[in-house]
Symmetry: none
Subunit: 294 residues, 2 copies
DNA sequence: CGCTTTGATAGTTTTTTCTTATGATAAATA
DNA sequence: TATTTATCATAAGAAAAAACTATCAAAGCG
């Protein structure tokens, strides 16, 4: 498809402004014949005359007058594309889509969101809270820019950076606080309440109890840590929650919290993103901000 | 002053659309390395990354998404400069891209095409037949000059002019011609065959039966009026078709046609185009020609 | 592991654009 | 009227840009 070029539009606009081939050519920093040829080329392509070449002056035709308006619009839009690029290059601006797993989101996000908004006022943060496999899928599909999950993920196409380590604590009903601390193995014999399938925290808890995937007797699949703690508070069993969740979740429940002796159960929380993401640089920066919060 | 070129914008747009260097290059009729180089050049000039090159897919960055919108605007404006030139040469010549909805096209186009070609011998008419939302999108993208659709469209950036009104008639199998005419409401209880989702005629028919969007029992989604009539002919139910379609569609089907009493179902067919289109003047002229045909 | 897909790179060729030199026309000047 | 001057067009070669072919390298897939 043959078409006009932006260069021709620039020359055209210059000629329209100066009304003189020589001066317009100077303004464009090219020779006069070069300008003449490009204008002629443009007229040929358009199939219409742009200028009425008088002996002593060059004047726009009626069509030329209309066309130069359009040309100026186009040139302005093209220049704005450059401005747009410059604006987006400097600071972290625009939309940032973060995914967070449900066992971290409610405890980490309030502070992180505040800090990020303060630091990057032009950043529009979208948060998606769901389980790890879905987050990874959405990352792969380009629906998310980054995700905060329990490491490791071990996908070759992902970059991962650790943010912080997090202990698991035992939650028992208030009356049991004096009982001796059960060993990891003996948790198997107790009524251990867990999150439903799909949450990585469930697998981590089971792993700590040396259970592969077969659940212990009588598990109850909760959909949130809040539910778990409320169940414990009602005397239905014991559970594990991340230390980070303690302040929020025990506020309205009469339960006792105990830390394990070594080997203390632990998980590493980190941030992941596509290795190919052009935001990689900025995401590292954001990871630092999140580390501060934790 | 170094700057991007329209050619680069075209390549950029193609790559954004195809998400694949090879196919985009094909679409631009150049080799893949040529496209790669121009995209890279463009990214260098802008100083920003436009695409995230994944192992298996190429995806726009956030900035790329914003930029491609601008690029499309610029490209459309540049194309319109050509249209403008054509319009300035008084008579309507060159390419005219008309979109028509499928429930009108086969009945209106044969005559309209003939009349237009006779009247404007230098006019090269391209016809695109698809559903209204796609036509409107293509109009917006500058891929169409005008479209013939059911009014109203109510987009502020469109000019619309009515062409003619069209009644809907009831199609029943041949044996049922003596039965009394069902009311709009009672159509709901019959086995009403309709076009598939997306056709405005489907919505208009449903609306006449006072159905919002929930389809009646056992709808069968056909992709053309011909199919509908053939189904009716086979005794599978009843349907509505525009009056204009009657001569063509009942030629090879043993069905009976009945007009409704008032309130007679009706729709207004009209022509729409971008208000900013330089062809506006000529399009009005064409609308008059189409009116004659109907 | 090989095999395939896919984008990047290198070197060469083709096309486009630009430059200098020159021509042509008409107004201005003498 | 002849000459000069101002201007834009044309021509031919040089420079720059863009495109092609061939090939590489990385990553997914069986």
């Amino acid at each position: 498809m043959i078409n006009i070029t932006l260069k021709q539009l620039r020359y055209f606009e210059a000629l329209a402004r100066h009304g003189h081939f020589g001066r317009a050519a100077d303004a464009c920093a090219i020779s006069q014949p070069a300008l003449s040829m490009q204008i002629k080329e443009m007229e040929d392509v358009l199939g219409a005359t742009l200028f009425e070449r008088g002996a002593r002056q060059v004047r726009l035709t009626h069509f030329g007058e209309v066309a130069v308006e359009r040309a100026r619009d186009i040139l302005r839009a093209a220049d704005e594309l450059g401005d747009l690029a410059r604006a987006s290059r400097e600071r972290l601006v625009g939309r940032l889509r973060i995914g967070v797993i449900p066992t971290i989101a409610p405890y980490l996000l309030p502070k992180v969101m505040g800090d990020l908004s303060g630091r990057y006022p032009e950043l529009e943060i979208h948060v998606r809270e769901t389980v790890t496999p879905k987050l990874i899928q959405e990352l792969r599909d380009g629906k998310l820019d980054t995700a905060i999950v329990a490491l490791p993920i071990s996908e070759t196409w992902l970059s991962e950076t650790p943010l912080f380590d997090e202990n698991f604590v035992l939650v028992r009903s208030a009356g049991e606080s004096n009982l001796p601390l059960p060993s990891a193995d003996s948790l198997r014999e107790m009524r251990l309440l867990l999150l439903e399938e799909g949450h990585c925290f469930r697998d981590q808890a089971l792993s700590f109890c040396n259970l592969q995937s077969a659940p212990p007797r009588e598990v109850l699949d909760a959909s949130s840590l809040s539910t778990l703690v409320q169940m414990v508070s009602a005397g239905m069993g014991v559970t594990l929650i991340p230390e980070m969740a303690v302040p929020v979740e025990t506020r309205s429940a009469s339960v006792s919290i105990s830390r394990f002796q070594s080997p203390e159960p632990i998980r590493t929380v980190g941030m992941v993103w596509r290795q190919t993401s052009p935001l990689a640089g900025q995401l590292k920066e954001i990871a630092e901000v999140v580390k501060m919060c934790a």
